[in-house]
């Protein structure tokens, strides 16, 4: 088994920019993409604020696929790779093309299952005439981490020589109504870990990565951006929508990631928190972080105050931020975080922090009690 897996290309479609460099520069300026959308207000939505990609045109029912294809194009370009026919596709999404389900309910003559996560993965395979393995992971807000972990496993098994992995999620009216009616939305924006947090902001986007075995990447002269070490997974098995309040599931996911890579918690330099901005989710994640790191808390940052919660694409977009942060040796500020919550008693970055970054955990949690913690790091020689 060839264990070392690296990322050699990133592609991003985000509400704060199309392309990782634009997103990164906006993150460093602590910008937020939250906007008011008059058409949501006019349609009777109680919350008309969201983080949407307003400068990306696509046929509405293919928006998720087109965002994934654009991100794939960017990742391939950066990687400078000629894709082999057996390249695998590992794609995550929550709902796929949510609009298809809405249209089916409205009486349109279509089968919504032709627009699910599998169809999005197939769109990439067809665009590049690939016949390698396909995995479509519908693991909600953890899907990006799952997809990259699945790609890592496939490469390590030797099932494919190159993996296209990541996640996509178009703006979903189903999710917009569902989260609003579940009182999980904050019209004034997501404030991860903040004392005044009161919910999430819905986002959208896509992030795709090219993954290869490290030896293969070096042999073809590619420049690895970071190394992917391990994925820790768990399920709370507690509640359909709420995390276990003691954070046991995310604790297990982080510990599994660390143990799989034989890394000590004290060696982690940065955790990109899930930080959805809801009271209970952030409180549970804070307990999990304390369970794992105790008094050696690494620096914490969160991205959902800047780009919203892109559901299935969230952890992929945040992984792109982690990879860029490793390359820049900089941890971005946490848009939306300003006031310490005495209950959480943990701080997030407020300014960009330049420091040596060797190891990073990217946390994600989801409805259904899912937890996924991806460990990555600076590429070692």
């Amino acid at each position: 088994m060839n264990n070392s897996i690296v990322i050699t290309g990133i592609g991003v479609v985000s509400p704060l920019g199309i392309g990782i460099d634009i997103l990164w520069n906006n993150l460093l300026q602590c910008k937020s993409s939250l906007q008011y959308f008059a058409e949501l207000d006019a349609a009777g939505y109680r919350n008309a604020y969201a983080c949407r990609v307003t400068n990306f045109e696509a046929p509405p029912i293919y928006r998720g696929a087109w965002m994934a294809l654009e991100a794939t194009r960017q990742a391939i370009t950066q990687s400078k790779i000629k894709l082999p026919e057996n390249a695998g596709i590992f794609l995550g999404s929550t709902l796929g093309e949510s609009m298809a389900y809405e249209m089916a309910a409205e009486g349109a003559d279509l089968n919504p299952e032709d627009y699910n996560t599998y169809s999005l993965a197939n769109a990439i395979a067809k665009a590049y005439s690939l016949s390698g393995p396909i995995q479509a992971l519908s693991t909600a807000c953890t899907a990006g981490n799952y997809a990259v972990g699945a790609a890592m496993s496939s490469l390590q098994r030797g099932d494919t020589s190159v993996a296209i992995a990541g996640a996509t999620e178009p703006f979903s009216r189903i999710a917009m109504v569902g989260f609003t009616r579940s009182r999980a939305m904050a019209a004034d924006g997501c404030k991860p870990f903040d004392a005044n947090r009161n919910g999430m902001s819905l986002g959208e986007g896509a992030a795709i990565f090219i993954l290869e075995r490290k030896a293969d990447a070096i042999q073809r002269g590619a420049k690895p951006l970071s190394e992917v070490y391990s994925l820790g997974l768990s399920c709370d098995a507690y509640h359909p929508t709420s995390p276990h309040p003691d954070g046991r599931g995310l604790t297990r996911a982080m510990n599994t990631a660390l143990q799989s890579a034989k890394v000590n918690a004290g060696d982690i330099d940065w955790v990109n928190i899930h930080g959805s901005g809801t009271k209970v989710s952030d409180a549970a994640e804070a307990l999990a972080l304390k369970n794992v790191f105790k008094k050696n808390m690494p620096l914490l940052s969160g991205s959902k105050g800047a780009i919203g919660h892109a559901l299935g694409a969230a952890s992929a977009l945040e992984l792109a931020i982690c990879v860029k942060g490793i390359a820049a040796q900089t941890i971005p500020p946490t848009a939306g975080y300003s006031t310490r919550d005495t209950g959480i008693a943990l701080d997030c970055t407020k300014e960009p922090v330049q420091k040596e970054i060797r190891l990073v955990l990217n946390n994600a949690s989801a409805f259904g009690g899912l937890n996924a913690s991806l460990l990555l790091g600076a590429c070692t020689s």
Binding site: A105, E106, Y118, L137, S154, I174, C235, A237, F367, L370
Partner: protein, 130 residues
């Protein structure tokens, strides 16, 4: 271990009690639920609730739709339900694909085998929902 179960046209929340009953008949109760991985495969899960939820939105408007069905619109709602029923806290995957696609099912089997080896899982449950 692979178990085939059927959702058909039922709403997910109504079908799940029968689905876990079938799984329990096939696999029994787990002796160590922390050491089990769950792998749900379906092209269908979440569809019926998504359509029903959106019909409710059309009928009552976005401000007054009943949110009860919303968690069931997510494809992974079934895997979460199964995990809660059996107390399974290990890896919890939901794959979307046509369930009669042997190459694809083989991908799931390989991932389950990898997890079993790497994580020391005692059992891996692959549940195909039609």
């Amino acid at each position: 271990m692979i178990c085939h179960v059927y959702l058909g046209e039922m709403l997910e929340k109504e079908a799940m009690p029968g689905i876990v009953e079938t799984i329990e008949k096939e696999f029994g109760r787990p002796s160590n639920s922390d050491a089990i991985g769950l792998y749900v495969v379906s092209n269908h899960i979440g569809t019926n609730s998504s359509i029903a939820f959106w019909k409710d939105v059309i009928q009552h408007g976005p401000a007054f739709a009943n949110p009860e069905l919303f968690p069931w619109t997510l494809a992974n709602s079934a895997c979460g339900y199964i995990a809660r029923h059996f107390g399974i806290t290990g890896p919890n995957y939901t794959y979307t694909c046509p369930p009669d696609h042997p190459e694809y099912i083989n991908e799931v089997v390989k991932q389950a085998a990898t997890d079993r080896e790497n994580l020391g899982l005692e059992e891996v449950w692959i549940i195909i929902i039609h």
